[in-house]
Symmetry: C2
Subunit: 216 residues, 2 copies
């Protein structure tokens, strides 16, 4: 992915759209002076991004002990095939968020933000779940960052071949990625008669590809 | 994603399979003492992982100046819906590679490894492209890490609800993600009569989902 200035966007709407569409992110942080890049689930509420993990995670220990992190969420939208190897690229949407995370302290706050995560992907599900216990809340760490040091990079469209290459006799264009939900696979001992699951599709659809977000 | 020891695998075959299936990775590195998490394209040759970028990229400057990085590639395979919020999870495959990257020096070596990247996703394409120029090679930095400090984490299967929750009347199971290629979109001024493009599908398919890798 080539670093070009026109790919950097800072509009809040872009940050929100990418963070809300991405199913997961990677958090870079220091653990005993060593950089570590950890995949995790994130979600957004207003101007903050949240992520969580178990209390034993070295990521969370590290975050509180060693400070600053970089959380990056990336959606891959397709391959960009040019006439030369050099001009090959990928269409993607990516957000980077920098800062020193805040660790949520109160159980009430944890419950409130975990409900938002659950409802984001599984609308209507939170109220149907077995409620969280005090022990589970104690074992769940939630971190957050404000989006005041965040930026988005977006690449779309076809290859940027120079004029001199346009006549080269090779296929050129975009091969989009399609990311969708498969058919739900019920857990074997599932109680009969429960309502069908509702899951929001991940928003990893190339703009203009004709693929629509939907629910199943 | 809960950190459970049984999810950590170190078999070389697992490392290879995840790195080869993932379309992109995130590289964590230090830039002037600050951690940065950058999405980029990677590929594997034998026991090394490679990635690349333009010479002006701060990532590459940083790598040579400040040393150690962590490269993580993650494939999301599906949501795991449990009877409680606490036991919700995601099925995923992830590889973390640590070390101090080597920067490829010779043009011959760069051409050799860039051909492998191109052929990995677009079989047969390298020989059909307009050849790389000396200027393009000079503007292309390629880094690599040996896989001797790498590990894989894989989560598959259904929810791990405790026995006491099994009767809770809510849908539980897995909702797989399906990642496939869409129809190729030719670049507008495409020369007529060129052969059809061949692109390998990204290998982001849940095991046992019935979805097969293929070519289009």
């Amino acid at each position: 992915m080539k670093r070009l200035p026109e790919r950097a966007r800072y509009a809040r709407a872009d940050l929100y759209a990418v963070l809300d569409a991405a199913t997961h992110c990677h958090v870079a942080h220091l653990v005993e002076g060593r950089v570590v890049c950890t995949p995790t689930l994130h979600w957004r509420i207003d101007d903050r991004v949240y992520w969580h993990g178990s209390r034993v995670s070295r990521m969370l220990h590290s975050n509180s002990a060693e400070g600053q992190v970089c959380l990056t969420a990336t959606l891959m939208d397709g391959w960009v095939l040019a006439r030369s190897a050099f001009n090959h690229s990928a269409n993607y949407r990516s957000v980077m968020c920098f800062g020193q995370p805040d660790v949520l302290q109160s159980d009430e706050e944890k419950v409130r933000v975990l409900e938002v995560l659950t409802e984001h992907w599984f609308p209507g599900r939170w109220a149907t779940l077995r409620p969280m216990t005090a022990k589970e809340l104690a074992a769940t760490s939630v971190l957050s960052l404000p989006l005041d040091m965040a930026s988005a990079k977006i690449r779309g469209g076809g290859p940027d071949d120079p004029k001199a290459d346009m006549g080269w006799p090779v296929w050129a264009g975009v091969v989009p990625f399609v990311h969708r939900l498969g058919a739900p696979i019920p857990d074997a001992p599932l109680k009969t008669g429960v309502p069908r699951v509702r899951v929001r599709a991940p928003g990893q659809f190339p703009k203009g590809s004709g693929v629509k977000e939907g629910r199943r």
